[in-house]
């Protein structure tokens, strides 16, 4: 069995969003997890990355002004 190589904080942080996206190779996933198991600061980075993703995903949609909506509806009707 090969032991997972340790990675520095900079490398772990660089991969956090891809880690959350499951967009990194399984061996890199393991390296990030191993790093997170002992690094409190990077665990904080991970929590913040999760919060930021939720913030973006749930951010309020840009409101369509009534006059723009009306113009677009008229545009659709004229097609």
């Amino acid at each position: 069995m090969t032991e997972t190589k340790a990675i520095p904080c900079s490398e772990a942080v660089r991969q956090l969003w891809d880690y959350l996206d499951h967009a990194i190779a399984p061996e890199d996933q393991e390296k990030v997890e191993k790093h997170l198991s002992f690094c409190r600061s990077c665990c904080g980075e991970l929590e913040f990355a999760k919060e930021m993703r939720a913030f973006l995903a749930t951010s309020t949609a840009e409101k369509i002004p009534p006059h723009v909506k009306e113009r677009l509806e008229r545009f659709v009707e004229r097609l």
Partner: protein, 196 residues
């Protein structure tokens, strides 16, 4: 394709289908362009109407329309500029918003510093930050994290290799976080009144 899922591919069917999608389309357009969101939506609607026969499921209309809008936007960007503004990482690679907030501690009495920081941004502030980013970073970021497109789908839509999109997402996130911090300071979002 079930019968119930299909509406008549008529002009009236198209109108009925797209009217409910107008707010979402406009919202996406506003996040993609500083000016001209309405024009972008109109051009997308025009192209969607021409391609209406290719829509297989009415239930997929929202994503179908957004895809067309992104295609129109991509083509407009290409016409405007032949060169791609690949901003070098430079000192960006060392920036961490998480650490900056810990170091600068803008809300000294807060037990939830990072959450509080995000909460001072309303939708207009968020748009201002997004619009500051170069197109090549903003577009993948908006599509992936705000509109829920898969990374592979973004690569296909923007006609770029998957590795390029992943790299732009990475740089875009760093740039976005740095601009959030800069904007929060410039716009006075870190005052006590805003950070209630």
């Amino acid at each position: 394709m079930s019968e119930a899922a299909i509406r008549d591919r008529t002009k009236e069917g198209f109108q009925e289908l797209v009217l409910t999608e107008l707010p979402a389309l406009y919202s996406l357009a506003r996040r993609l362009v500083r000016d001209g969101a309405e024009d972008l939506v109109q051009e997308a609607l025009l192209q969607a109407f021409r391609a209406y026969g290719t829509l297989r499921e009415d239930g997929a209309a929202g994503r179908w329309l957004k895809t067309i809008l992104v295609n129109v936007f991509r083509d407009q960007v290409r016409k405007r500029s032949r060169t791609v503004d690949e901003r070098p990482m430079g000192d960006l690679s060392d920036f961490s918003l998480y650490r900056t907030l810990v170091d600068e501690d803008p809300f000294p009495y807060s037990d939830t510093l990072h959450t509080d920081f995000l909460q001072v941004f309303d939708s207009e502030d968020l748009r201002e930050v997004l619009i500051r980013l170069p197109d090549i970073y903003r577009v993948p970021l908006v599509l992936r994290y705000m509109d829920g497109f898969a990374t592979k789908e973004i690569a296909r839509l923007l006609e770029a290799p998957l590795g390029t999109i992943l790299a732009r997402l990475h740089r875009g996130r760093r740039l976005f976080e740095r601009e959030m911090w800069a904007y929060a300071r410039e716009a006075g979002l870190l005052t006590k009144e805003r950070a209630r």
